[in-house]
Symmetry: C2
Subunit: 408 residues, 2 copies
Amino acid sequence: MLAISEKNIKVVTNGHVTSPIGFSAGGVHCGLRRSKLDFGWIHSEVPAATAGVYTLNTFEAPPLKVTKASIAKEKKIQTIVVNSAIANSCTGKQGMDDALQMQQLAATQMGVKLDHVAVTSTGVIGVTLPMEKIRQGISSMNEPENYSAEKFETAILTTDTVTKHVAIQFEIDGKTITIGGAAKGSGMIHPNMATMLSFITTDAQVDPDSLQNALREVTNKTFNMITVDGDTSTNDMVLVLANGCQNNDTLSENHPQWPLFVHALRVVSENLAKQIARDGEGATKLVEVQVKGAASEKVASQVGKAVISSNLVKTAVYGADPNWGRIVCAVGYSEQPIDPDKVCVSLGHIDVVKNGLPLEFDELEGKKYLEQEQVKLIVDLQDGSAEATAWGCDLSYEYVKINASYRT
Amino acid sequence: MLAISEKNIKVVTNGHVTSPIGFSAGGVHCGLRRSKLDFGWIHSEVPAATAGVYTLNTFEAPPLKVTKASIAKEKKIQTIVVNSAIANSCTGKQGMDDALQMQQLAATQMGVKLDHVAVTSTGVIGVTLPMEKIRQGISSMNEPENYSAEKFETAILTTDTVTKHVAIQFEIDGKTITIGGAAKGSGMIHPNMATMLSFITTDAQVDPDSLQNALREVTNKTFNMITVDGDTSTNDMVLVLANGCQNNDTLSENHPQWPLFVHALRVVSENLAKQIARDGEGATKLVEVQVKGAASEKVASQVGKAVISSNLVKTAVYGADPNWGRIVCAVGYSEQPIDPDKVCVSLGHIDVVKNGLPLEFDELEGKKYLEQEQVKLIVDLQDGSAEATAWGCDLSYEYVKINASYRT
């Protein structure tokens, strides 16, 4: 995982979704793939207050619809089951029946309420689930040897090259609260894998409506600020489960330490989001675009997204080419009200544009900076005090290769 | 050029901007590049009614500002001068002085009114023009041997691999009207070349305001519907000059044959736009996305743009991989009100998705279809009668190579 340095927050070494009290997780190979683990789950000792954010793609996959509907009812989840390889998307009525059956089977297996089970799938679009294999995966949830956070994190991956997990701790009312998270991402691929799934767990007691507000706010600043190739999948989902096992006074907007909890949730979300961006298809670098001096947060985030999404910026970073002109250009077409004569651009510590005009700088130093594994592009609009940060990756030959050579 | 088949319209074999009566054009090497032609011009015997559309990028290059202001005054242009290699963009006051001087020098050289000269530049951002070389280019406009449409078309190119030109003829009031055009494009590059310049000439007599309306309408259906890499440059411009040398009754919305003229203007614009898309950086194919059955033209064009801009669709086409899921996904995130259960997708003649569900089709046949030099992706939303077409190209290794390896 990537480094975190925040006061009041302690990073759990090798932290996972199982770091908070009362959560277990596991994964098995149920046969959807040749040999790789392809079925995983997270389970809480008790039903957990749950918040969720979902894809904006009009094509919602059946499992996403089922999960969304169940959470809407009681705002509680106790068990999450995930399969990779097949997204169960664009599968019509059959796909809906399969998602509902998957939920039913998991509820029976774990002895939890039907509406306390979340079902999620990620993989190829337009293929229905081989239910006998899913059934086998669910039945294996009763075997202790299948339980481990690493197995879960591995089972949910598609084209990801590494597992993505993190956990942090902080004090509230003298209680040590832990938030853990796991994610899969890497971008659309082969031919159309779901982009992003994130699961966040905490042993804090949290009011579900407050949790939903916090997640929406945090998601807009983290998961919604990363891009690998701009595509939004049919299965994107972020779930946060708060099982309250720390028996703290219920956290909500009224609690004096609510800001600390929301900040901690943001730290976990940002860390997972950056891990996803860094592991984008064919990515060789994590790119951070920091926009400051904006008239509003909207302007800042739109400008940031325009720069991080530019194929020209992404290829320039891949080639370690200090092409500030491409950054300026993306700022210019972001369709935001900005003053070109105020725009300043820096590549990390190297200032390259001031008030819309180029500065003399050492090309080689710029190249050296962009050759690093993590690079920061800074845009100052000098037009206000709003800021936003976007994360992404470079565009490499490997990206084209991965995406062009499917099934060949 | 690409094939045109339209009744009432005759294609001029090897047509150019000089095919209409009263237009001449030329090009020379003035030293901005090592050896390639880098300075060109179009001249009309008489001042021509002129319409223009310009980049939406907030960073407008000085030459674009100068040209825009001059056309706004009298809506007439007689001489257009163009230099490649340097965009004179992000060059501040110096850049503005240079653009104004370039206009002044050309006006004196050709003996035309200052405001009847359009100046345009395309090339690297952030570099000022070496004016002595520009001056040399302008002085060479009096030597007959420098005159030829091919020289002009070559001089305006940046990373384009071929010249782009076309001309058509049609009858209005018994007069043969000719419309010619030349363009350069190929996408932002090295480090940031202006994307697109198009110059259209006609010997028809046209009311300038009507011409402006026609150009705006036509541009939205042609030049604004192509994408190479989604970037919009600081120097994009389309100019139409109508010099009236055919002495026809002035064309305007009130003329019974106005629709024919507008249609002809669209035919030329679409043909140039497709030539630009086909010659996109590293492109191996021309991709056409046809959206039909839309509730409105806006929905149709937004869906078309989402599909043609998707890196996943572009790489799939490059790899000749019939990944309909990527097309469906792009339709889904186009942020338009569509009904997923009505969406149909075809790869040319091969239907792959019906009412949101996959159809059985021959993978190999799909691959063979996508291996062609021109491919058509058809999306039917079954939600209305509005249509739109977008053009683009595939995303190849070559694109990454061209854009990543600048100056190395």
